[in-house]
Symmetry: C2
Subunit: 358 residues, 2 copies
Amino acid sequence: MQRVGVIMAGGGGTRFWPLSRQQTPKQLLNLTGRAPMICETFDRMARVIEPGNIYIVTSALQADGVLEALAGRTDRSRLLTEPEPKDTAPCIGYAAAVIESRHGQSLMLVTPSDHYIRDTDRLTEVWETALDAAENGDRLVTVGIRPDRPATAYGYIRYDTETDAPVRRVFSFHEKPDLETAARYLSSGDYAWNSGMFIWRTDTILSRLREHAPDIADAVSRIGKAVGTQQEQAVIADAFHQMRRISIDYAVMEPCAAQDGVLLVPGNFGWNDVGSWDMIEALRQPDSNGNVLLGDALALDSRDCVIIARDRFVSAVDMDGLVIVQTPDAVMVCRKDKAQNVKKIVEALQKAGRTDLL
Amino acid sequence: MQRVGVIMAGGGGTRFWPLSRQQTPKQLLNLTGRAPMICETFDRMARVIEPGNIYIVTSALQADGVLEALAGRTDRSRLLTEPEPKDTAPCIGYAAAVIESRHGQSLMLVTPSDHYIRDTDRLTEVWETALDAAENGDRLVTVGIRPDRPATAYGYIRYDTETDAPVRRVFSFHEKPDLETAARYLSSGDYAWNSGMFIWRTDTILSRLREHAPDIADAVSRIGKAVGTQQEQAVIADAFHQMRRISIDYAVMEPCAAQDGVLLVPGNFGWNDVGSWDMIEALRQPDSNGNVLLGDALALDSRDCVIIARDRFVSAVDMDGLVIVQTPDAVMVCRKDKAQNVKKIVEALQKAGRTDLL
């Protein structure tokens, strides 16, 4: 069965403000120093899927930036533009409908665009296992990451850990837990982190959407019928306007898991969703003082700091555990252990109508 | 006797980096939000001395900046340019020589250019008292500040505290003490902070220089003879090249105090030498969270911070006791309780040859 890939690149990315902006979300940032994250995602996917069969779903605002980043890898014909953000269920339904229409029934691999993977070889093996499992069955397949700490920033998946088989049954999906719950999940050994990667046949996912989210399935079906017609864009706009905002986890994965309809391939491939500034350390080797310094940056008598100097000299003295980010129009200072609070600054800017800085 | 003022404005000002630079030292900064410190100094002095009789001693590098700041108050004819920095004894000797040459024997008031004074009326009274004492005698007069904390950043003067007289005898000058010594000075009640303000007759200071620093007096005397001649600039350059680097306290005040040759007028007029970023709070009222925010600055869940945003948006979240300064070419972050460590950054820049940032 033909393999088709979908890279979800619609994220707004306030957590890397001021480096990330509405038009330059995290997936377009070159946080690793090698290439924008979306390029690395594309190249990883191209190991298992023909590059011409890889689609990118993004927003109109980000389309040009995505194309620019992926120049030489793909073109506008593989760009699926969402008229408005409606979370992952409409996004995935939209992609599945377009793929079925253009390629016929296909084997579909969906992945976020902005995660870091250290061991691409291992990921490739995991994906191949998952693609096999999805192709030879009618279940939804996901990839689970074995947790090594009680992270509260990730969703969790309870799955069958009584076996060593490469593919396991999923029992249930769980939202981001509080620390106590996360610690319980971790020590039980029965949970994996939800990687946001999904593998299934297009007919399988469209059937499951029909079963568990018929309203989304209706809208998606209308899109599928309009693909290649003059009405395509208008139908997509209308369908997205009508669809509710809902994640694929809520809409499909949870109810399917309850009916033994979801499989999981566990994997350890140095995965990090790089959800906030403190995660930069996963991408960049800190120096002997624990500092990550990018650009024209100086840290004296300081440790465990992240300093990013885009186009000016940035200096710190006597600092511990700080994140300092300089861009051409803004400076942001936060604590590394509270890096998620950057969003408070973004919210304050939104409230103040500072669109110049968003 | 004619009164002549001297504002010493030669300071390099690394302690307010990155706002202060070689060409824009602290005295040219508008830290109060009203006017550059040198302007406020000039205006205070103009209360007791004819503005046309006020001289400013500065470096060649800073001369244009000084003139620009004082535009409308004075002109280049009252600017005394030091060819190289040799500390306060050569500076004061040079000024005294020029003044005697141009104005004859005069009553001379010397003050730093970069101190903050809250109560100008009270300072004016103190100066009048000091000018009277200096005019009617042959002793060197200084102004002492009653300490309210065991400051280690100031020199101390031990003086006669057994009387309530407005003018007191000075026993000795003391360098910046360690904290223990400063605490002892404070609790003894016998010490004043050295304000760096001096009042004397030109003939008195020139005689004392002759007595205690004859080499400086020789050089100064050569300058005096050259004033108004074609050789003036060449002689000044040569004299400064020959003079050693020495403060007026070491060269003259200390030995004279030992010979009962120094008087002190104690005063409380809200004096602050604004020696480092943490002193900004003396100039700018902090908000209810203890933050001083200047420019396009935002502090969320933060307290006791100083944030200066010159031309960009600067934001901080979850910060306590930090100083963040943004200028068009640099960002600096330090702890308020270690604000003096800014000099470590400047030293590192000097070592690295980063003249673009000095």
